[in-house]
């Protein structure tokens, strides 16, 4: 048990920071009552503490610099050969798609184009839905490709025209589709599989939000790559654990087959 005059600046400082146990705190409380000079000193420390907080707390409310947000989402660069392949793919895409004047290459860092620093919520859901269902050996789809009514059923449910894209030229066959809950509505997922490698990709379709950006974008999250875009009334995300240039080839194949009112004849936004 310490005598009152044992209280040092270290004790008082710890008292102010709430670091003393109850017994010792009570002793300091009582002691400060009778030691006005020490009390005044502690009050000045408290004022200094408040001034320091006032000086730097506003930083918490500052918008994050885009460069730092970009850095968080940046993935290691592709090997040089893959970059070259992706660029070659883009040049082809430029010929096919640039003519339609609608697609805009936005790079692979979502932070550079979206204020929130992450792809829109629906793109995240597309990625999640992909991860959940490609892993299902038996129940990967709700309705098999062979069933006539798949496209009609999904079209009716999600209120945009669903077409069963033919990706066989790219080595992928339609497995089937399913209806999914989406924020405030429904979405559809089509699943494709490469019969040789058993790799699967999914196409996620939904009616887009009114203010959804229409640009053609790529995002890589871990193993998964996603191309996504919004085009004349349909939001579309292609998801797969494939090299970027392979995924791009599939995205192009889908784009070429978009239903007429969503495809190349659609008015430029």
């Amino acid at each position: 048990m310490s005598r009152p005059d044992d209280f040092t600046d270290t004790d008082l400082s710890a008292w102010l920071d709430g670091e003393l146990d109850a017994e010792r705190r009570a002793q300091v409380d009582a002691w400060l009552h009778d030691n006005l000079e020490a009390g005044a000193r502690v009050r000045l420390w408290a004022a200094d503490r408040d001034a320091l907080r006032a000086r730097w707390d506003p930083v918490l409310g500052e918008p994050l610099p885009a460069a730092l947000v970009d850095q968080v989402w940046q993935v290691p660069a592709l090997p040089r050969w893959a970059q070259a392949a992706a660029m070659a793919g883009l040049l082809v895409a430029g010929g096919v798609i640039g003519a339609a004047g609608m697609w805009q290459w936005q790079g692979q860092r979502p932070g550079s184009t979206l204020a929130a620093g992450t792809p829109a919520g629906w793109v995240q859901r597309a990625g999640l839905a992909h991860s959940v269902y490609v892993a299902e050996p038996l129940h990967a789809v709700e309705v098999k490709a062979a069933e006539e009514h798949l496209a009609r059923w999904l079209t009716r449910r999600i209120n945009i025209e669903v077409k069963l894209y033919d990706l066989r030229d790219e080595g992928f066959e339609l497995v089937g589709g399913r209806l999914l809950p989406d924020a405030g509505g429904k979405s559809a997922q089509l699943m494709y599989e490469n019969p040789q490698t058993h790799q699967r990709v999914t196409v996620y379709l939904r009616k887009p939000d009114a203010d959804a950006p229409t640009a053609f974008r790529y995002v890589q999250q871990g193993e998964l790559g996603m191309f996504y875009w919004v085009e004349a009334g349909a939001g579309c995300a292609l998801v797969g654990a494939l090299p970027k240039e392979r995924l791009l080839a599939l995205a192009q194949a889908i784009y070429k087959q978009l239903p007429s009112e969503q495809g190349a004849n659609a008015p430029v936004r």
Partner: protein, 182 residues
């Protein structure tokens, strides 16, 4: 394999806290964000070392502490700032809002502390960490944090009390450059 998206989301969520600490250590916006950038770089490069049961803020503050020490060591090896760059460096400092006089004094008082005292003080007062948490960030015993905080408080107060009269005489005979150098 690069850092998973969940880890990146956590980094993003912790970034305001990280920036506040960096700003209080480095004073000006640009060097503070340089510090944040090197923390993010280290965190993304060593994400496997992060134990997800721990608080990511503490982990990042600890990386910031080490990165800041590296910067101090490096700066000490550099030449003294050439006079023609002094204005430029001072201009880079964040404009001071509110009671600029008081805040300038506070900042000046902080700059006079040893780096050890300063980081302990900022972690406990501004970041509002407990002594145990600050000890984890600084990798010292909690008792050391306790004495550093206390000594930092006393030193800062001494300087502020002493500087009041000094600042008064400076203001009486205005020398525009003098105030900025503090």
């Amino acid at each position: 394999m690069s850092a998973p998206p969940a880890f990146r989301q956590q980094l993003l969520a912790a970034m305001p806290r990280l920036r506040r600490y960096a700003r209080s250590l480095a004073f000006d916006v640009n060097s503070a964000d340089d510090l944040v950038q090197s923390v993010l770089e280290r965190a993304l490069g060593h994400w496997r070392q992060f134990d997800p049961r721990r608080d990511i803020v503490l982990w990042l503050l600890s990386i910031a502490h080490n990165a800041h020490l590296d910067t101090l060591r490096r700066d000490r090896r550099l030449d003294v700032l050439p006079p023609e760059r002094v204005t430029e460096v001072l201009d880079a400092r964040q404009p001071l809002g509110g009671d600029a006089g008081l805040r300038l004094d506070l900042t000046a008082a902080l700059e006079r502390l040893t780096p050890d005292q300063r980081s302990a003080l900022l972690l406990v007062l501004v970041e509002q960490l407990s002594y145990a948490e600050a000890a984890e960030v600084l990798q010292v015993p909690a008792g050391t944090v306790m004495s550093r905080v206390s000594r930092a408080r006393v030193a800062m107060r001494d300087w502020l009390d002493g500087s009041t009269t000094l600042a008064g005489s400076v203001r009486a005979a205005p020398k525009p450059d003098l105030r900025r150098v503090i």
